[in-house]
C-alpha cells in the first residue's frame, strides 16, 4: 500500500514538473548516490573481544541512493503550501549487520520521528536493502505585507552564525551530517510580523507530545549600524532561555556571533551558557578563511573518549547542549581552484589539541546539474590506553554524486 502511495506521489510530482504553468507550482529536488568508506583504528584500543571478534570491523562500506522533492503550491498571492520528501535506499554494512550490543538498530534510529505526527515510513527492510521515506516539510502559509503565518512541519532557522548556532533552538542540527543540507523540520507554528522594513518580530511554538518538552519563543530582529541584530527569549524543554545574535563586520572582516543562557525551572536541572563567535575573510586572490569558537558550559572541560565517540553523523545535537566539549575551535580555508573545482579544509579541535577532527572537502561540477563531492572526516584523539599519544581513532571518506532538477 505504502509503496503504491509512493509511486503515485512520484508520478504526480513528475506530471506537475512537466506542466508548464508558471508561478502556481514549483518542484525541485535531487538524486544523490553516496558511498561511505569507514575505517577504524584497531590498534587504538588494548586487545578486547569486540575487536578480536570483528564486532567493530577495521573497515566497512555503506551506500545510499538519496532522493529529495521540494514541492510548493501557490494557489494565490497569500497562500503557499510546501512539502519536502526525503527518500533513501540503503545498503551495505549497517543494513546487513546487527548493532553493537545495547545500541538501537540502524532501522530504529532511522524510523524515529521526533515530531507530533509520525511522518517517517519504512517501506521495506531486508537483510540487504532498506527503503525509507520521511516528510521533513509539510506546511501551509498565509501572508500579507506585514504578517506571515506558517503552520506544520517546517524549519525555523534562527541561526546567523557560521558553524555553531546556539540561537537555533527549534532545529539544532548536526555539523557532521553534511549530506542533509535542508536539515530536519519541527512540527510548529511560526508567526512573523514586520513592523517596518528593517525589523521582524517573530513567535515560534513547537509543542511536544509531553507538553513539558515543548519549545516556544519570541525573537526580535533588526538592523542597526550595518549589524543584523537579534534577541530571543522563551521556554525550552523545562528551561527558560534568552539569547542574542549578530552578523556584521569589523573593517573587511565578517564578524558574527550567537549566545544563549538557560535557566532551569526545576532545581534538579542545570543552568547553561552557550556562546559562539566567528570571523571570516576572503583574500583578494580568492582564498576564503574562517575561524570560530564555541563555549558550551555543559560540555566536558577535559573530554573523555566517550564524549568524543558521541560525535557522528547520526546524532542530532540538543540546543541546550550543542557540542560535547566545553571549548571548541574551528578553522576553515577554501579556494576555488577553477570555477568548477573547489577545495576546502576544516579542522575542529579542543584548545589542548587532544581532540581533533579534520574535514577535507573537494567539490567538482561535472555538468550543469551534476556535482561530485569527496569529503573525509577524520577523528584524532589522545589515546588514554597507550602513552596518551594523540592518534587517529576512526575515519570516514564519503564519495557523492548529485544530480539536481
Amino acid at each position: 500500500m505504502r509503496l503504491r502511495i509512493f509511486s503515485f506521489l512520484l508520478c504526480l510530482t513528475f506530471l506537475l514538473k512537466g506542466q508548464e504553468e508558471p508561478k502556481k507550482t514549483d518542484l525541485k529536488g535531487y538524486v544523490k548516490l553516496l558511498g561511505s568508506f569507514n575505517s577504524f583504528n584497531k590498534d587504538y584500543f588494548p586487545p578486547n573481544p569486540f575487536i578480536a571478534d570483528d564486532i567493530i570491523p577495521a573497515s566497512s562500506q555503506d551506500y545510499q541512493i538519496h532522493n529529495r522533492f521540494d514541492f510548493k503550491y501557490y494557489p494565490n498571492s497569500k497562500l503557499t503550501f510546501g512539502v519536502g520528501m526525503r527518500n533513501r535506499l540503503f545498503w551495505g554494512y549497517q543494513v546487513e549487520n546487527p548493532p553493537l550490543p545495547g545500541q538501537p538498530s540502524f532501522y530504529q534510529l532511522l524510523d524515529e520521528d521526533n515530531g507530533l505526527v509520525d511522518l517517517s515510513f519504512l517501506y521495506f527492510e531486508s537483510d540487504v536493502v532498506l527503503l525509507h521515506t520521511v516528510f521533513d516539510r509539510l506546511w501551509g502559509q498565509w501572508e500579507n505585507s506585514q504578517w506571515m503565518v506558517r503552520l506544520g512541519r517546517q524549519r525555523i532557522n534562527w541561526g546567523v552564525n557560521t558553524v555553531w548556532n546556539p540561537n537555533d533552538i527549534f532545529n539544532q542540527y548536526n555539523y557532521f551530517d553534511f549530506d542533509y543540507e535542508e536539515r530536519p523540520g519541527s512540527d510548529a507554528l511560526r508567526v512573523q510580523y514586520f513592523p517596518n522594513f528593517k525589523s521582524t518580530l517573530e513567535f515560534g511554538f513547537a509543542p511536544a507530545q509531553d507538553l513539558k518538552e515543548s519549545v516556544g519563543a519570541v525573537l526580535y530582529k533588526t538592523n542597526y549600524k550595518k549589524y543584523d541584530l537579534q534577541f530571543l527569549a522563551g521556554y525550552y524543554q523545562q528551561d527558560l532561555t534568552a539569547g542574542l545574535g549578530w552578523a556584521g563586520n569589523i573593517g573587511q572582516l565578517g564578524f558574527k556571533g550567537e549566545a544563549n543562557y538557560y535557566l532551569p525551572l526545576e532545581e534538579s536541572r542545570d543552568t547553561n551558557f552557550i556562546a559562539s563567535i566567528s570571523l571570516d575573510y576572503q583574500f583578494g586572490f580568492g582564498l576564503y578563511t574562517q575561524a570560530s569558537y564555541l563555549y558550551n558550559g555543559l560540555g566536558a572541560e577535559d573530554p573523555d573518549l566517550l564524549s568524543f565517540l558521541s560525535l557522528n553523523t547520526t546524532q542530532v545535537q540538543d540546543a541546550k547542549n550543542i557540542f560535547p566539549f566545553r571549548h571548541t575551535l574551528f578553522t576553515q580555508v577554501g579556494y576555488n581552484i577553477t570555477p568548477l573545482f573547489r577545495a576546502d579544509a576544516a579542522v575542529m579541535f579542543t584548545p589542548d589539541l587532544k581532540n581533533i577532527i579534520v574535514f577535507p572537502t573537494l567539490t567538482y561540477s561535472l555538468l550543469s546539474n551534476l556535482d561530485a563531492l569527496l569529503v573525509a572526516q577524520y577523528f584524532i584523539s589522545q589515546n588514554p590506553f597507550e602513552n596518551d599519544n594523540v592518534e587517529w581513532l576512526s575515519g570516514v571518506i564519503f564519495g557523492r554524486l548529485k544530480y539536481s532538477f
Binding site: 532557522n157 543584523d228 565578517g254 583578494g284 570555477p339 568548477l340 546539474n369
Partner: protein
C-alpha cells in the same frame, strides 16, 4: 597680468574638460541605469574546455539597491542576492537562511564568473566614486568613442587602480571598459555588444568580460529582457522580501 590670465584660461580649460568627461560618463550611466529597472539575464562562463550557463532575474533602484534571483541551473535555483547601500545578503533556499556576506567578498568572483560581486551589485559608481579625465578619441569596433580615464577617489569602495572607458560619441554607449590594477596592469576588458532596443532604449544587450592574462576565458552576460522605471513596492529591497521572490 598676462600670466594670471593664461593661468585662469588654462585652469578653466582643464576644469571644463573634466566637466565634459564627467558629463559624458553621466549621460552614459543614465542610459544604462535609469531610476529603477527589472530584467532577465543569462550568464555564460566560457573556458577553453567547458562552459556553464546561468539565468537570473534582476531588480535595481539607483545604485543603492539591487536584488538578483537565480532561476537556473537547478542546483542554484532560488538563490537570492540583496544589496542595500553597502551591505550584502545571500538567501540560501535549501537551508532557508539569510547569510550576511563579509565586505571582503565584494571583490570576489560572482558565482565563478569573470564578473565580481561588485560588478553585479554595483557597489561602486563610476560617476560618484571616480574622477574623470578625457584622454581623446578612439575608434573601437567601428564606433567613434570618447576615451576617458577614471581614477578612483581616495576613500571610494573601488578595487581598481584605474579604469579606461570608451563611450560612443553618437549614443553615449559604453562600448568598452578596461580595468587596471594598482600597478597599472590590465586585468579585465568588458565589451558592450549587440546594440538593440531594450526597455525603450538602445543599449548593448551583451556584455563580454575577458580577463587579460587567461586566453580562452570569458564571461558573457546577455540581457534577455529589460524594463526601466519599474516601480517596486516599498520594502521590496529588504531581507524580509528576499525569501518571497520567485
Amino acid at each position: 597680468m598676462n600670466k594670471l590670465f593664461l593661468a585662469t584660461i588654462l585652469l578653466w580649460a582643464g576644469f571644463s574638460q573634466a566637466q565634459d568627461a564627467t558629463e559624458i560618463i553621466r549621460r552614459s550611466e543614465e542610459k544604462l541605469r535609469g531610476e529603477s529597472s527589472t530584467g532577465v539575464m543569462e550568464m555564460t562562463i566560457e573556458r577553453p574546455t567547458w562552459s556553464r550557463t546561468m539565468k537570473m532575474k534582476t531588480w535595481s533602484k539607483g545604485t543603492e539597491y539591487s536584488m538578483i534571483l537565480v532561476t537556473e541551473p537547478a542546483r542554484d535555483k532560488g538563490t537570492v542576492f540583496l544589496k542595500r547601500e553597502t551591505e550584502i545578503w545571500n538567501w540560501v533556499p535549501s537551508v532557508e537562511r539569510t547569510v550576511k556576506l563579509p565586505p571582503s567578498m565584494m571583490s570576489q568572483s560572482w558565482m565563478g564568473s569573470d564578473f565580481t560581486n561588485d560588478d553585479l551589485v554595483q557597489e561602486s559608481s563610476i560617476l560618484k566614486d571616480y574622477t574623470h579625465e578625457l584622454l581623446g578619441e578612439e575608434t573601437i569596433r567601428g564606433f567613434k568613442c570618447h576615451k576617458i580615464k577614471l581614477t578612483p577617489k581616495p576613500d571610494a569602495p573601488v578595487v581598481w587602480g584605474k579604469v579606461i572607458s570608451y563611450i560612443s560619441k553618437e549614443e553615449y554607449l559604453q562600448i568598452q571598459t578596461e580595468f587596471y590594477d594598482e600597478d597599472d596592469e590590465l586585468i579585465n576588458t568588458m565589451e558592450g555588444m549587440d546594440i538593440k532596443e531594450l526597455g525603450g532604449r538602445r543599449l548593448p544587450s551583451k556584455l563580454v568580460m575577458t580577463p587579460a592574462d587567461e586566453p580562452g576565458n570569458r564571461t558573457i552576460m546577455r540581457y534577455l529582457d529589460l524594463e526601466f522605471d519599474t516601480q517596486q513596492p516599498e520594502g521590496f529591497y529588504t531581507t524580509q522580501n528576499m525569501k518571497r521572490l520567485r
